[in-house]
Symmetry: C2
DNA sequence: TAATATTGTCTCAATTCGTAACAATAGAAC
DNA sequence: GTTCTATTGTTACGAATTGAGACAATATTA
């Protein structure tokens, strides 16, 4: 596969996405591992000349997760000179067996518009891109070292997610359509990084009048079965 | 003055700033009026190749207001194709007596990173830029029509400012160093667009323990003189 | 000295929140 | 079937916060 041609993309503009998922009680994000370098990075990409910014992000997410209609929020654009590291980008391209032309556009300084996405961990089909060996889930609390300023981007994403959690009531996007109150509470606890009081949480969620109560979930465990809930549409 | 040369700027990247000020009980923003067109726009600009994004914004604000150390917050990046209007940009340049070369860089599609700033209305010395007849204050509630998507940018700035008002306690940036509780309340009311209860507001502000109380302000009016306050540093 | 307008503080009820207690119940143990 | 255990949904109650008004203080005018 040849190197991407600048003619179809807008130079100097990129996006990076912090894709949050939730499984086994842990908050996780998607990271790509670049071929033959052992370097990890956020899934990102470029914007086509005839494409809206947000559509470019959605396209990238679709290619890597197979999902459309993802909950997506732009949270910051990163534009320091410090983040410009042509040596690292060149090494990544060379590790993929490419001849890198002098002044190749991907080595230029880029402004990255960062988005976070919330998805149901069960629904994804992960597909690496051309430069990557793998794309997979990593616990937010146990991330490997990331290239460029991607660690800073993750931190800012997490901070924004925490601030928006109550304000925009977005926690449900990390769960399947139907879920128990306990699962929802676990999502909140994983995002906020602290334990919450069961009864207060239940009372607050119910008082917001955003949940619809469905049938009970019988797990086979020897105790009272919890109700399933979904967000009102 | 010749047209700016692309060689010193990064193409496709611009910024726009929504500069809020407060005077006579009204929330206002700065708008530029382009020469000979009657068109209004937000103060914006481009990023130099050896310059950080935020420094570019500060540079632009300094050139137009004479202020440094401005409270500044990035709130969104606009990247739709729809906002690309080379005809309008060309008309603005031509109205300034420029010959516009074919494929001139300023006619390209731009991504705009939007910031809002909060400044003390009394401190500014307004200076128009090369393309503008004037730069001056306009009430947020009575804005003229704006070019491109600038009306949408202002709306988003206002929304973000409202959301951040309590969270970040930034209202004081619109006032002089010392102010009365009543003035601070007026700022809040102008931003939120609603009247607040005097006693609740006073109690809340004092309980936050962020204000320092100074001498009284004697206005000459025949009633009890209010205290002056400043934000604790 | 009285009148007026505005300010700073206090009071009391309404609401929300933290905390614990309690009743309901699905399955396991017997 | 009965009892036991773990977990869930709900209620109760005091603490903290908030809404709304009352009231005293005071700078100037009449």
């Amino acid at each position: 596969m040849p190197l991407p041609d600048v003619s179809q993309f807008i130079p100097h503009i990129a996006y990076d996405s912090v894709v949050f998922g939730f499984s086994k009680g842990k908050l996780k994000i998607l990271l790509m591992e670049y071929h033959a370098t052992g370097w990890f990075a956020l899934p990102g990409g470029f914007v086509r000349k005839n494409e809206d910014l947000e559509d470019a992000v959605k396209r990238g997410l679709y290619e890597r997760t197979g999902l459309k209609d993802i909950y997506l929020e732009q949270f910051q654009t990163f534009g320091t000179r410090e983040r410009h590291n042509p040596e690292i980008m060149e090494a990544i391209l060379k590790a993929n067996g490419h001849e890198v032309p002098r002044n190749y556009w991907m080595l230029d300084r880029f402004f990255s518009v960062a988005y976070y996405a919330l998805i149901d961990h069960e629904k994804v089909t992960l597909t690496p891109d051309a430069l990557s060996d793998s794309i997979s889930w990593y616990e937010v609390e146990k991330l490997p070292a990331l290239i460029f300023d991607h660690a800073k981007i993750v931190q800012k994403a997490l901070q924004t997610l925490r601030e928006n959690l109550d304000r925009k009531l977005i926690g449900g996007n990390l769960l399947p359509e139907k879920f128990t109150m306990n699962e929802l509470q676990s999502v909140y606890e994983a995002i906020l990084g602290e334990k919450l009081r069961r009864t207060s949480f239940q009372r607050k969620m119910l008082s917001l009048d955003i949940l619809e109560r469905h049938e009970k979930l019988f797990t086979g465990k020897s105790h009272k079965a919890p109700y399933l809930y979904s967000f009102k549409s």
